[in-house]
């Protein structure tokens, strides 16, 4: 309140190139909204990626979303909404010169950010443990035994195995079955093997056709791969969207599930970076608030940081149903 009292004279927070606090506030706010517009466009690109991949591969999204924890995602949504409330309330407190309340509310908002990131950490950790990482780090398998180790091992093993047709026949059949048994990454790791043997019904043809390319899996894990072919077929979740593909092998995990997790990690990761940035910015305003910088005529930083925080909340409001609530 003491600050508000001498705000009548020469307000130290009013820059000389502004006529009055209101003009200064409006200008700052306009700049912030322009920045927020670019943020929307930044995420817009990722939403395009999401939309195009979902339109092309609905079965991947329906299959993969079951690995996301709807409950944790929902709790995180609620946490962000609560922290948005404390932020909006904090702006009000700053406007009214309620210094103590402002500090409490800003602290609560940061706390909300910490809770959000903590839950996010738990979720990411689960993905990590299940091998549900984007791109080449995706090692998840349906029914998940030895097959997980097979795919990475295949590439280096290809070098010392130029042996003849008789020797390669057994491993070659196992690679074909292994590749079709493990649709996602295996298909990617060894594209030649899978495209040639996608049908997997005619091992004789493929072994003779691919003497060199199909040798890779002479790794010790070859024998373990056989049972996974048998078990896999009925294991998939019900209601998978059928695409143009035919054949029983797609009733389990669809091809290229890693695409979903690439998008998932990009979108939630970029969002998490924004949460961290928001927490840092709120921390900065909290420090200024402890110095008593804000009052009825000067609360611009609180307001603008609040806008940023609300935008982060707003983006999560869309990310949550799009990623977690597919069905």
């Amino acid at each position: 309140m003491a600050e508000a009292a001498h705000a009548h004279g020469h307000d130290p927070s009013l820059q000389h190139h502004f006529d009055n606090p209101e003009q200064q506030f409006d200008s700052g706010k306009l700049g912030m909204w322009l920045f927020l517009a670019t943020e929307v466009l930044l995420f817009g690109g990722l939403f395009v990626a999401y939309a195009v991949y979902r339109a092309n591969h609905p079965e991947i999204f329906v299959y993969a979303h079951q690995f996301l924890d709807k409950r944790l995602g929902g709790i995180n949504t609620l946490v962000l909404i609560c922290s948005s409330l404390t932020m909006a309330w904090g702006v009000r407190a700053a406007q009214l010169g309620q210094q103590r309340l402002l500090k409490i509310l800003l602290s609560l908002t940061i706390l909300g950010g910490f809770i959000f990131m903590g839950i996010k950490y738990v979720e990411y950790k689960q993905k990590w443990e299940h091998g549900l990482l984007p791109g080449k780090h995706f090692t998840h398998k349906e029914g998940g035994h030895a097959a997980g180790e097979k795919a990475p091992a295949a590439a280096p093993a290809a070098v010392p195995a130029p042996s003849g047709a008789t020797a390669t026949q057994a491993p070659a059949t196992t690679t074909t079955t292994g590749a079709s048994a493990a649709p996602g990454p295996a298909a990617r790791q060894a594209p030649e093997a899978t495209t040639s043997t996608g049908a997997s019904a005619a091992p004789a043809v493929t072994t003779s056709a691919a003497p060199a390319a199909a040798t890779p899996a002479q790794a010790p894990g070859t024998l373990k791969l056989e049972p996974s072919l048998i078990k896999r077929a009925p294991a998939g979740p019900s209601g998978l969207a059928p695409t143009a593909r035919a054949g029983a092998e797609h009733e389990a995990a669809p091809d290229k599930v890693w695409i979903f997790f690439g998008i998932y990690f990009l979108m939630t990761g970029l969002h998490a970076i924004h949460v961290l940035a928001g927490m840092t910015a709120i921390g900065w305003t909290l420090r200024k608030a402890t110095l008593g910088a804000f009052g009825p005529t000067y609360f611009t930083p609180v307001d603008l940081v609040g806008l940023y925080w609300h935008l982060v909340d707003l983006i999560w409001i869309f990310l949550f149903p799009l990623l977690y609530l597919i069905h």
Partner: protein, 137 residues
């Protein structure tokens, strides 16, 4: 401090911005919480009942929530119109972007000639080309 529900409580200070009443803030917060629970609850409706509308229901609820946040928490309702216009334009551009990309995507058919799409399982003509990559150098 409880009497500070409206700007006049500031005793004639040069006041900046609009002060949102606590009741409104909590009402918006309550609506957001309820809508979040509704979004999750909707997913328990069997997919057959909503069919292709599930996505639109989810997006519709998200849109309502986003509007609440933007209008009340972000003060757009009382702001200068320009701020809202900037936001609306950016969202419109994103919608245009997504819509354009999707219309384009829809123009590509997975298997115009059955069996010839590169990653189709059971693609017959492939085996012949398959061994080529390994001995190619």
């Amino acid at each position: 401090m409880a009497h500070h529900d409206h700007p006049p409580a500031l005793q004639g200070h040069a006041h900046v911005g609009h002060v949102v009443s606590l009741r409104l803030l909590f009402a918006v917060w309550g609506a957001l919480m309820v809508l979040t629970i509704v979004t999750v609850a909707v997913t328990y409706i069997p997919a057959q009942l909503l069919g292709p509308f599930t996505l639109w229901v989810a997006l519709g609820i998200a849109g309502i929530k986003a509007s609440l946040v933007a209008l009340y928490f972000m003060h757009l309702r009382w702001d200068r119109p320009l701020n809202g216009i900037i936001m609306a334009i950016s969202i419109a551009v994103v919608i245009l972007f997504v819509g354009g990309a999707l219309t384009d995507t829809a123009e590509y058919q997975g298997d115009m000639i059955p069996g010839y799409a590169p990653d189709m399982a059971g693609a017959q003509p492939k085996p012949a080309g398959a061994p080529a990559p390994a001995p190619s150098p």
